[in-house]
């Protein structure tokens, strides 16, 4: 029974840590917008906890460069599993407009395994929320098969717009 409660709890209490890798701050603003009362993500138990040691979900915005890749790796390492990574914005996905810069490594998945990709420049808050909710199923999955291969999901940007319209 306890096991069941824990399994259910895992997807009901995703705590976030948000790392700005090298974003233009556009995606960061959108990410933080998710946490405002307008969207009220605490309904899903989401808290922005700001400490990798307490977090389950790592949200990364911006492109990875040769300097901050170590920071990203370390923050990821310091999160106890099970954990998921959500790459947000074109930059997080591929390096975006910074891709060609001399010091840019590329998207987040060049450095750490990414579970959910949220495209957009910047990604819309609804898309990011959608990404987190999408990530929860990955999280539940990870628990059932702890060393399952990375079944990465991409959030459909257009879909979330519809979600927004219908609200």
């Amino acid at each position: 029974m306890f096991k069941k409660i824990m399994e259910r709890s895992r997807i009901k209490s995703p705590w976030l840590v948000h790392y700005d890798c090298g974003s233009c701050n556009g995606c960061d603003i959108e990410t933080l917008a998710c946490l405002t009362p307008l969207y009220d993500v605490e309904r899903f138990g989401v808290l922005n906890i700001g400490n990798p040691k307490h977090a389950d979900v790592l949200i990364v915005t911006g492109s990875v460069n040769t300097r901050n890749r170590h920071v990203l790796e370390q923050i990821h390492r310091q999160m106890p599993s099970p954990k998921i990574v959500i790459a947000v914005g074109s930059c997080g996905l591929s390096g975006g407009i910074f891709k060609e810069a001399y010091n840019v490594v590329g998207g987040v998945d060049r450095v750490i395994p990414v579970d959910v990709y949220v495209p957009g420049c910047p990604a819309r808050p609804e898309a990011i929320i959608d990404g987190v909710v999408e990530g929860l199923s990955v999280l539940a999955d990870k628990q059932r098969r702890p060393d399952a291969a990375n079944g990465a999901v991409a959030v459909d940007h257009t879909n979330s717009e519809i979600l927004y319209e219908s609200r």
Binding site: Y19, N51, K53, H70, Q74, I75
Partner: protein
């Protein structure tokens, strides 16, 4: 040799249990010859002080000892010329017994520790000729004088012992013969001479009124009458100087220049406890008077202010010294409250404080010899370097502040007894919180993992180990058995109706109860629970601390500017803006002085 002597002392004191109360006037104490000998010794002692005063060109010491010589001369040859006071001999009641046990057991353990310590000390100091024989003889004279002090029943003999402890402390503090050692020894002599002079004045006044020097008789005749407040007040002030109460604390703080066993002895079983003993002994005589309240207020004020000063310190020995001053203040506050429960608290606090403080001082000695520093900040992660001593210090600190250990039991009793007096209560409550801060802060950093220096193997002599572990064991064992020895050992006048009594392993009075045994059971159970719990999770490897993602390869480092590996430097809060020595000392001394003047003024 010294070890054998310590063992003898301990057994002797234990054999004394069950013999009390003893009141005897042995023949050799009552003879004229003895009286003359003491007289001569008294004058010789004061002459010695006078000599020191002149040699140090210290006006205060010179003046005080000259005044004492004059006073003593006047007393012995003018007042006592025609009437001869009958010899009062010895008196050993439960209070004396507790003191004797404390002095002998804690004192012996300290001597045991001192044996290897002083060898190391000499190796480091390299005097031309070993001065250890002198040192150890002085230690034993000191312990002997303390024992005599708590056993004599004659005020003049008491005065004599009191002055001998002054002399011993003076010589021991100056033992290293460095400049600061001399200066601080001078301070000790200066302040304790004041105490001596005040004591002598008090004794003379008592004799002129009651024509007796028998302590028990004095107490019996004064008790309940509210008379003789001035001489009794003077005795209390003398006690305050010995117990290093504010504003007389300076000598005890200076005393830390001496080799550590001396500090341990001064702070735990001897010297300062002589002052406390004096006040406790005469407590029944001034119960219910304004003097009693005055003592309580002065004590509580010292408790609060010394605790505040300790918070502002990062020098470990100074923290220990201020904590001694503070705890003695608490004890005196209890004596001043002067109810049965409060006196219980005073005696229990005295016992537990002596044991824990001796332990902590001795540990400090080992740490200082090992890391060559007394600063608390240098003891971060001491566990990595001294895996034996660091946990002992931590445990020692926990016995000072947490239930179910004895010190907290005493503090609990004290606060419950003080609850009726608003002023006292405020001071005790604030002092108690400050106490937690300066201890917990220290205990916290000892076991951590950020040791800065290069580790060297910890060397702990077998005698030191025995001494440290016995003191720690004693602290715990005494705490567990508090409800039992409280009734068994403490004077019946305190444990009788209205005082604390053991109920089902708790110590209870009409106002509350402290579940000693149940709490110890709970503590043991939770400790096992904690061990089991942490054992289960110990399989995991230790993770690097969170350093905003830039932790370096080594624990406690980060990748700093220019990619350099930088050590993160943590420092505790010492709040010097509130509690710094410069900031507080002046005001605190002034207030304490005024309080003592008020106390004396009200006696008139």
């Amino acid at each position: 040799m010294a070890a054998a002597a310590s063992a003898l002392l301990t057994t002797g004191s234990i054999l004394l249990i069950g013999q009390v109360p003893i009141r005897s006037v042995p023949a050799f104490l009552s003879g004229d010859l003895f009286a003359t000998a003491v007289q001569a010794a008294d004058f010789a002692l004061l002459g010695l002080f006078l000599f020191f005063g002149i040699r140090f060109k210290d006006l205060l010491i010179t003046g005080l000892s000259a005044a004492q010589i004059a006073g003593l001369f006047f007393f012995e040859f003018v007042i006592l010329a025609d009437s001869h006071a009958p010899a009062a001999g010895l008196y050993c009641d439960s209070l004396s017994l507790v003191m004797v046990l404390l002095i002998c057991i804690a004192g012996s353990l300290i001597v045991l520790y001192a044996l290897p310590y002083m060898q190391e000390h000499e190796r480091h100091l390299k005097p031309g000729k070993s001065r250890n024989p002198v040192f150890f003889s002085l230690l034993f004279v000191f312990i002997a004088a303390m024992n005599a002090l708590v056993l004599v029943n004659d005020l003049m003999l008491f005065y004599f012992c009191f002055e001998i402890t002054t002399l011993c402390s003076f010589l021991l503090i100056g033992h290293d013969r460095t400049r600061t050692a001399r200066e601080n020894a001078g301070t000790a002599l200066r302040i304790n001479s004041m105490g001596g002079a005040v004591l002598l004045l008090g004794i003379v006044l008592i004799y002129t009124r009651l024509h007796t020097l028998d302590i028990q008789e004095v107490i019996a005749r004064v008790q309940g009458t509210g008379a003789l407040l001035i001489p009794l007040g003077l005795l209390c002030v003398a006690g305050f100087t010995k117990a290093a109460q504010m504003p007389f604390q300076k000598w005890l703080l200076g005393a830390m220049v001496a080799p550590t066993p001396v500090s341990a002895l001064l702070h735990s079983a001897t010297m300062v406890k002589a002052g406390v003993y004096l006040v406790i002994r005469f407590a029944p005589a001034f119960a219910g008077t304004f003097l009693s309240t005055g003592v309580a207020v002065c004590g509580a004020f010292t408790f609060l202010s010394a605790a505040a000063l300790a918070v502002g310190q990062s020098n470990g020995k100074k923290v220990l010294a201020y904590s001694t001053v503070s705890n003695l203040g608490l004890i005196l506050a209890c004596v001043g409250i002067n109810t049965r429960s409060a006196l219980s608290a005073a005696i229990l606090l005295m016992i537990f404080h002596a044991v824990s403080k001796a332990l902590l001082f001795l540990c400090m000695g080992s740490v200082e010899q090992h890391i060559k520093s007394r600063d608390i900040e240098d003891m971060r992660g001491l566990f990595g370097e001294m895996p034996k001593v660091a946990p002992i210090i931590t445990m020692g600190i926990l016995t000072m502040i947490l239930p179910p250990f004895g010190m907290l039991l005493g503090k609990w009793m004290a606060i419950e007894s003080a609850a009726g007096n608003l002023f006292l209560l405020f001071m005790l409550a604030m002092g108690s919180a400050l106490t937690v801060v300066y201890w917990a802060r220290w205990a916290g950093i000892l076991m951590g993992s950020d040791f800065r220096g290069k580790p060297r193997p910890e060397r702990l002599h077998v005698l030191s180990t025995i001494s440290l572990f016995s003191l720690l064991g004693l602290a715990i064992l005494l705490s567990v058995s508090a409800p039992f020895f409280h009734t068994g050992l403490l004077p019946g006048s305190i444990t009788g109706a209205g005082g604390f009594a053991p109920v089902n392993g708790s110590l209870a009075n009409s106002a509350g109860s402290f579940a000693v045994i149940p709490l110890f059971l709970a503590a043991a159970a939770s400790f096992l629970f904690a061990l089991a719990g942490s054992g289960r999770s110990s399989g995991a490897e230790t993770a690097a601390p969170y350093m905003s993602g830039i932790a370096g390869p080594e624990n406690g480092t980060y990748i700093g500017p220019m990619n350099r590996i930088t050590r993160s430097v943590n420092r505790n809060y010492y709040l010097s803006a509130f509690f710094g020595e410069q900031r507080l000392s002046g005001a605190v001394n002034a207030c304490a002085g005024i309080l003592i003047l008020l106390m004396m003024g009200a006696c008139i």
